[in-house]
């Protein structure tokens, strides 16, 4: 996925359109803050999630954090590769390291999130 074309949350999730579904992952900033990811707990396919609902858990050598659904939807699929290769989250956060895909998403909900420029500005406030 092209980071410029994604939408972002303040919890450092990204969401991007992929055909009929929306792909969700965590940002490069998030994976760097977490350090080496050791385990990812993914949601059940078919689960309905609300925006900001805890949907996945990412564990690193330093911490365990919740991953929230950026928008409401239904879990369409999960990245099963993370089960055996959690390091993909560190290596390729916007590509092979995606977490789950959502269907039944309202496009307007996604549009309401930060774009890449806003997210970078938000990151700049964190680094101050």
């Amino acid at each position: 996925m092209e980071p410029k074309r994604l939408r972002y949350t303040k919890d450092h999730e990204w969401v991007g359109r992929d055909g009929d579904t929306y792909v969700v992952g965590i940002t490069d900033y998030a994976q760097e803050q977490l350090g080496d990811v050791t385990y990812v707990e993914l949601p059940e396919v078919g689960r309905r999630v609300a925006a900001e609902e805890e949907t996945a858990v990412v564990e690193s050598v330093k911490a365990a954090s919740d991953v929230f659904a950026p928008v409401a939807g239904t879990v369409a699929s999960v990245n099963e590769a993370l089960e055996t290769q959690p390091e993909l989250v560190n290596q390729d956060p916007y590509g092979e390291g995606w977490f789950f895909k959502l269907r039944d998403v309202k496009a307007a909900d996604v549009e309401g999130l930060m774009d890449a420029t806003d997210y970078n500005a938000f990151l700049a406030t964190l680094e101050e």
């Binding site: 385990y39 564990e59 911490a63 365990a64």
Partner: protein, 428 residues
């Protein structure tokens, strides 16, 4: 390594760093009425007086009776090597040191404990232990709730009323529905016990299969020594095995300390509560031991931790490990066979009382006496016996029902003498 509490010099140094004159000054922010006024500690005594005082207290302990008491805690023989090894200063500390840099021995012992528990129960992963059997039952229930997303806990009639009472206490203020029965529909888990509280040995494989179909976990509480002889939780298809570990080298005491055993299948390991020791390699490629999967634990995961009990019974787990290693696979089987045959011998001699169990039993069974079991137990206490557990004491069965347990410690002479004493008291 040695563990020494703060000395006066340590305290003075710490107070100097924070710039406070005294410990009292440190606590000045706490209103005086909320501060402890007295520790109520008597004045110091000489070593000689302390020894005499503790000797008097110890003499009041009710030891030396021939015991047929069971109900979850059993009078097994403990080899002297268990005490000798656990008492070594490398192990015998006030607190369990977990830092891998200085605690390889402790961590390796915990890892080996986990390994023997897995072999004993035929499960994939065991934690570093919990407080006791009842706590393990509760933790298994919360674990099943995490795995299934359901809140109903079904207690099979075989489950110990003691474990059941502890489950009720632990869940009283939590969002759980604890019910009796064996219907796994809509349940997080069904919790059964083998041998049952009344001693029945049952193959729970069909119940495990029904749980699997209904999407519930099957939790089996077991008596570790019995696994030398009967089918294991793993063989029966249990998802979580729990046990009170007292029978593995822990002396009987009023209130413990005992040992909670919990083991599970690989699929559920991340939902398992408690500490886990793991094996790893250091920078030079040497084998080493560490605590692992700590992200599940309270100090990292805070309110969402798998458990808020973030300690283990390290010394008790060590005793269980030493005990099992001393026995070995064959030894455990021999102990189990001895328990079983001696119990069967006693059963065959109790012609004046009816054995109520309809299933085979391991080393414990229920007899209906010709008179009130509490009365019989009280009278036999006067002639040197702990005759067993009257079921009425735990709200089960009828007034005349007595739960009797027999371990490898009982000799034929003791069994014969007990039969005569019991007959005299129960039938006179």
């Amino acid at each position: 390594m040695s563990w020494v509490p703060h000395t006066d010099a340590d305290r003075a140094a710490m107070l100097a760093v924070i710039g406070v004159d005294s410990t009292d000054a440190l606590f000045e922010a706490i209103p005086p009425e909320a501060r402890l006024q007295s520790w109520n500690v008597p004045p110091g005594l000489s070593e000689m007086r302390v020894r005499a005082l503790l000797g008097e207290l110890a003499a009041r302990n009710d030891t030396g009776r021939v015991s047929f008491l069971g109900g979850g805690y059993y009078d097994h023989y403990i080899p002297a090597a268990v005490d000798a090894l656990q008492g070594r200063s490398e192990f015998y500390t006030a607190y369990t040191p977990y830092q891998p840099e200085c605690s390889q021995g402790t961590l390796q012992a915990i890892y080996e404990y986990q390994s023997v528990i897995c072999r004993l129960t035929d499960m994939d992963f065991a934690n570093a232990s919990l407080y006791d059997g009842g706590t393990a039952v509760f933790e298994a229930a919360t674990m099943a709730a995490r795995v299934t997303g359901r809140r109903r806990v079904v207690c099979h009639p075989s489950l110990s009323p003691t474990w059941r009472a502890m489950l009720d206490t632990h869940t009283a203020h939590l969002d759980f529905e604890v019910i009796d029965g064996d219907d796994p529909a809509g349940a997080a888990c069904v919790i059964a016990q083998n041998p049952s509280f009344l001693g029945d040995v049952v193959d729970f494989e069909p119940l495990a299969a029904r749980c699997r179909e209904a999407g519930a976990l099957f939790v089996l509480s077991v008596y570790p020594v019995s696994l030398g002889l009967i089918k294991t939780p793993g063989e029966m298809g249990a998802d979580i095995a729990v046990a009170e570990g007292q029978s593995l080298g822990l002396p009987l005491g009023f209130g413990g300390p005992y040992l909670g055993i919990l083991a599970t299948r690989k699929a559920h390991v991340r939902k398992m509560p408690g500490r886990i020791a793991g094996v790893t390699g250091d920078a030079q490629g040497r084998r080493g031991f560490v605590l692992t999967l700590q992200a599940r634990e309270q100090h990292i995961r805070r309110a969402k931790a798998t458990s808020n009990i973030c300690t283990n019974q390290a010394l008790c787990a060590l005793r269980a490990l030493i005990h099992l290693c001393l026995l070995g696979k064959e030894g455990l089987r021999e102990v189990a066979v001895a328990c079983h045959s001696k119990a069967e011998y006693l059963k065959s001699k109790l012609a004046f009382a009816r054995v109520l169990n309809e299933h085979p039993t391991f080393n414990e069974f229920v007899v209906r006496l010709p008179r009130d079991a509490r009365e019989v137990v009280a009278r036999l206490r006067g002639v040197g016996y702990h005759a067993g557990l009257p079921l009425a004491c735990v709200g089960r069965g009828e007034a005349n029902d007595l739960l009797i347990a027999v371990t490898e410690k009982r000799t034929r002479a003791e069994l014969d003498a007990f039969v005569a004493a019991l007959e005299e008291v129960a039938c006179s």
